[in-house]
Amino acid sequence: MSAENQLPATHYLNATSGLRSWLLTLDHKRIGILYLLGVSFFFLLGSAFAMLVRLELLTPQGDLMSPDTYNHMFTMHGIFMVFFFLIPAIPGVLGNFALPIMIGAKDVAFPKLNLLSWYVFMTGGLLTMYGLLTGGVDTGWTFYPPYSSLYSTSAVLPVGIGVFVNGFASILTGVNFMVTVHRMRAPGMTWFRLPLFVWGQYATSLVMVLGTPVVAITLVMLVLERAFHFGFFDAAKGGDPVLFQHLFWFYSHPAVYIMILPSMAVISELIAAFARKRIFGYQAVAFASIGIAVLGFLVWGHHMYVSSQSVYAGVVFSLLTMLVAIPSAVKVFNWTFTLYKGAVALEMPMLYAMGFIGLFVIGGLTGVFLATLGFDVHVHDTYFVVAHFHYVMVGGTIMGYLGGLHYWWPKMTGRMYSPFWGKTSGWLVFVGFNLTFFPQFLLGMQGMPRRYHAYPAEWQVLNVLSTAGASVLGVGFILPVVYFLWSLRAGKIAGPNPWGARGLEWETTSPPPTFNFETPPVVEHEAYDYVTPAEQRAAGSPPAGTH
């Protein structure tokens, strides 16, 4: 094993050098880094739009920008965040980096497809940026016709095509992960020895491969409708505008699970690592991921309770949506009970995991509110919905993503970041997040509609609180950029296993060599086989927790 205070002589970051070696790399870890750069860029762009939205809403009059500009701002915020950050972030960055190492493989099954997926993702992003520069788009990220097809004068075509192209990046990643998990597991790595992160990524891949083609077709239909007036969604030609909503949500509701499942997968790793204990109910948690992925395809109609859908369809979708709460609750209870009799260390990534549980519980339970037919009618398309999905998307997905990034950062770079600044940013994110989005639940209950540029004066106090929270949240998001960059130069050398965690990724050097392991690993234990030092010595391997 290498010395404690220096990086290994050769690792994946310095094995080859030059821009070309990065742009043509087939190494899943480097592709993970490429994704990190891409999604970070789009996240900062999406955040800038969000900040402008919040600034406009500081006053009720709608005086900072024109209504038209405001409509562009929330649309571009939604499009960049959903399609170019939330969907690709965890699979693209953490999945690419960690999944092959965690199953003991030297790479993914199709390294060239993996690189292609990044280029497809960036092409989709650049097309969307082109749309942004040639006038932007003002339809909302949901692109509902007939507004998007017949009335909007904005750049719907380039953006629609950009999102369409980006979908193929998801499909490529999904196919790659599925084949990798089936075919590339190390000897002894049976399905029920897989870390739960891998189960979660597998369930996500399933949704990406099965769901994304539907949104691709839907966007093609929208483009044909707008450019050539096909009439799929035009009532005057015998089409049906609500048909688009069915097709769109058939993908976009499962897409919510594309965003949250990988984050849940990260949380399982963090909880096990920082409680030094096997996840409670491993199989229940694994099957809950698959359960959520499958049920996710059967609930799209809950977006249409007030869209003229039949009352009976509403009832069926409400019932099915309620069932999603069950695997979600199973996961939350199992994580909670993993802490029971654990050896819990409140390190930085663990704070994110605990924050995730709290916020996801609120996000999930308010999902039950919205699934409840009689209540949804009142808050449908109000700020209650906005608050709910930000609790799931930001409180869930982003907390999980940041937790995972802080957990694997020493593995990715070989160096530690400042724990003080890490914890400071974690607290700022948690407090800022709640201050931003909790008032929005109250606004929604009072009836404030979403996508409003101006609003009645009685709602100003809650809006001011929300904008203040967004500012705190913004600082919380900028800080990691600073201390992560700082750690690359000046961070303490992490060593192979800084957290004392179990899992194949902690048995190789930090950063790992290009093909991940000096000798191909053979797996003889369950996942998360934390054992006492005495048991370890008896088994003849170094105990967990020493480094």
Binding site: P241, V306, V344, G374, H378, M445, T546
Partner: protein, 323 residues
């Protein structure tokens, strides 16, 4: 009244208490589980915190009993919630037979409303308190959504078809009306007011608004202008009679049958070949593009006002049935 939730708008319709009672249950249930989970996480994290760097957790990771408990309890809770929500929803979307019908047309970026007595308003709707009220709504352009927070009701307003909502205002006052489906640049200005008045006051208000004809009379005018009677006279062999058609089951040439509701009447005007009545040829040409949404609504209002001929004198001319 039983209770009023903080942060909730005024309760001004017959649904408000029902929706708020459901909300109270949801908030209580969510608060219970949130506090439970947060407390367990914090207590476990502090009680079992790591005391030495080498310490690992005690192995305890399986309990079928616990798994069953935290599967079954949430299942029971959500099924109960589902049933309660569905019950309220059915009431919300099923107007009673006696509800008085008003027409709403959405258009970028305004709400046009019309009373059964013919009065028109813009971004306003006056209603008498205590009257079961049904709105028949359509859009001239994109999708809008009609939302009155104080009534706890909402329904999308779509181009090319009718949607309905109903409620009984229970309290005089002025209540916000919002468009809640994003509809373009001035979406946030597509707002208005519902004014609920005592019945006598409402009558005085109606009398103060000049109106040439009731809705049905306006529709009768359109009917005459278009010459509909040439084919649709009672007993005609060219086209089906229209008196008493509304609400009836109609047997189609295809063998299927359809209920003659507003959407059917609208479709038969604009796309007459879509559902041809059994026993007739598809002889009618479309009126698409020749009628405004308001004229179509007036025409449908007129058709609905025609009473059904009694079974004894089906062959009698419509005029005689109408007196």
């Amino acid at each position: 009244m039983p209770f009023r939730l903080p942060f909730f708008p005024e309760q001004a319709s017959s649904f408000a208490h029902e929706v708020d009672a459901l909300t109270l249950w949801l908030v209580g249930m969510a608060a219970f589980f949130t506090v439970l989970i947060a407390a367990l996480v914090l207590v476990f994290a502090l009680k079992y915190r790591r005391r030495s760097p080498d310490q690992v957790g005690t192995r305890f990771d399986e309990s079928p009993l616990l798994e069953i408990v935290w599967t079954v309890i949430p299942l029971v809770v959500v099924l109960f919630t589902f049933a309660w929500g569905a019950k309220v929803y059915f009431r919300l979307y099923r107007p009673p037979a006696g509800a008085v019908e008003y027409h709403v047309t959405g258009k970028q970026w305004m709400w046009k409303t019309q009373h059964p007595t013919g009065q028109r308003e813009l971004n306003e709707l006056h209603l008498p308190v205590g009257q079961p009220t049904k709105l028949l709504m359509t859009s001239e352009d994109v999708i809008h959504s009609f939302f009155v927070p104080a009534f706890r009701v909402k329904a999308d307003v779509l181009p090319g078809r009718y949607t309905t909502m109903w409620f009984t205002p229970t309290k005089p006052g002025r209540y916000h009306l919002f468009c809640t489906e994003y509809c373009g640049a001035e979406h946030s200005r597509m707002i208005g007011w519902i004014t609920v008045q005592e019945p006598e006051e409402y009558q005085r208000w109606l009398a103060s608004v000049p109106v040439a004809a009731t809705l049905a009379e306006q529709g009768a005018g359109v009917f005459a202008r278009l010459g509909c009677r040439e084919c649709h006279a009672a007993g005609s062999e060219a086209a089906p009679a229209l008196a008493g058609l509304y609400g009836r089951e109609v047997l189609l040439a295809s063998g299927a049958s359809v209920r003659a509701d507003e959407n059917y009447l609208r479709e038969s005007l604009l796309d007459p070949e879509a559902k041809v009545v059994a026993g007739f040829d598809a002889a009618m040409s479309t009126y698409r593009g020749q009628l405004s949404e308001e004229e179509i609504l007036a025409l449908i209002g007129y058709l609905k006002s025609l009473p059904a001929p009694s079974t004894a004198d089906v062959a009698a001319p419509a005029e005689s049935v109408m007196r």
